[in-house]
């Protein structure tokens, strides 16, 4: 069966959903990570089509979840990740000893 999910695009051709979908993922990253954990995610028109441990697994999941009446779609893929702070503020050793 031919896939209805198209991830590769000719040079200079960006489907209209692409920019908005990447931006939507970034702005909803915290909620998406809470819901799906750290994983690969496939999003089309601000709707999660599939997730998986790998890009390939997420694509397979999206293919399964695609409504039968939907034609070819041009979703985006992103890696959901928790953002680990590199700086944590805590009382210094000298402050503790002063007490």
């Amino acid at each position: 069966m031919t896939s209805r999910i198209r991830m590769g695009h000719p040079h200079g051709q960006t489907p209209p959903n692409v920019y908005a979908d990447f931006d939507w993922i970034r702005r909803h990253e915290k909620e998406l990570v809470e819901q799906y954990g750290e994983c690969s995610i496939i999003v089309y028109q601000q709707r999660v089509l599939g997730t998986g441990a790998t890009y390939a697994a997420a694509l397979e999941d999206a293919e399964r979840n695609l409504p039968p009446d939907m034609g070819e779609v041009t979703p985006v893929h992103q890696w959901l990740r928790r953002r680990h702070p590199i700086l944590r503020v805590r009382p210094s050793l000298s402050q503790k000893t002063d007490k």
Binding site: M7, G8, H9, P10, H11, G12, T14, V18, Y19, F22, D23, R26, R27, E38, T54, Y55, A56, V76, H77, Q78, W79, L80, R81, R83, P85, I86
Partner: protein, 137 residues
């Protein structure tokens, strides 16, 4: 020179750029990457090598010793790939070849080698604006 509008985010702060990486099927894989002025070389998730067109760098498999706060080491594959950069305003570079590392990461980074080396970076966080001016080869 191509002027590209960057994606500016806060909480946590991050500057991203739209990238197209050339796939084995001839199409372009679209992704967003963090513009990282601490990265010597651009870094991408290893699993992308399954779908991307690439040629191995002379060093092939390497171990990268990070000199940052983490001071950790990680394994990577050094390859040449073709990339083009674009923005949501329709500005786009021609595809050009860069040396990049592919490793077990879920955080694509655009670094200096072949990209930021050729660019002027403008970042105006109070106004949430950023631009990259690049003369792609």
């Amino acid at each position: 020179v191509t002027h590209l509008r960057l994606l500016i985010y806060t909480d946590p702060g991050e500057v991203q750029i739209f990238c197209n990486l050339i796939r084995k099927d001839g199409g372009q894989e679209k992704l967003t990457a963090t513009v990282d002025t601490g990265a010597e070389i651009s870094l991408f998730p290893l699993e992308l090598l399954d779908i991307l067109e690439y040629r191995l760098g002379t060093r092939g498999q390497i171990t990268v010793d990070q000199a940052g706060l983490g001071n950790q080491s990680f394994a990577a594959i050094e390859v040449y790939i073709f990339i083009s950069l674009e923005d949501q305003l329709g500005n786009i570079t021609k595809p050009f070849e860069i040396l990049a590392w592919f490793a077990e990461t879920n955080s694509p980074l655009i670094g200096f080698a072949g990209v930021l080396d050729l660019a002027v970076l403008h970042l105006d966080m109070p106004n949430r604006e950023g631009w990259l001016e690049i003369r792609a080869p």
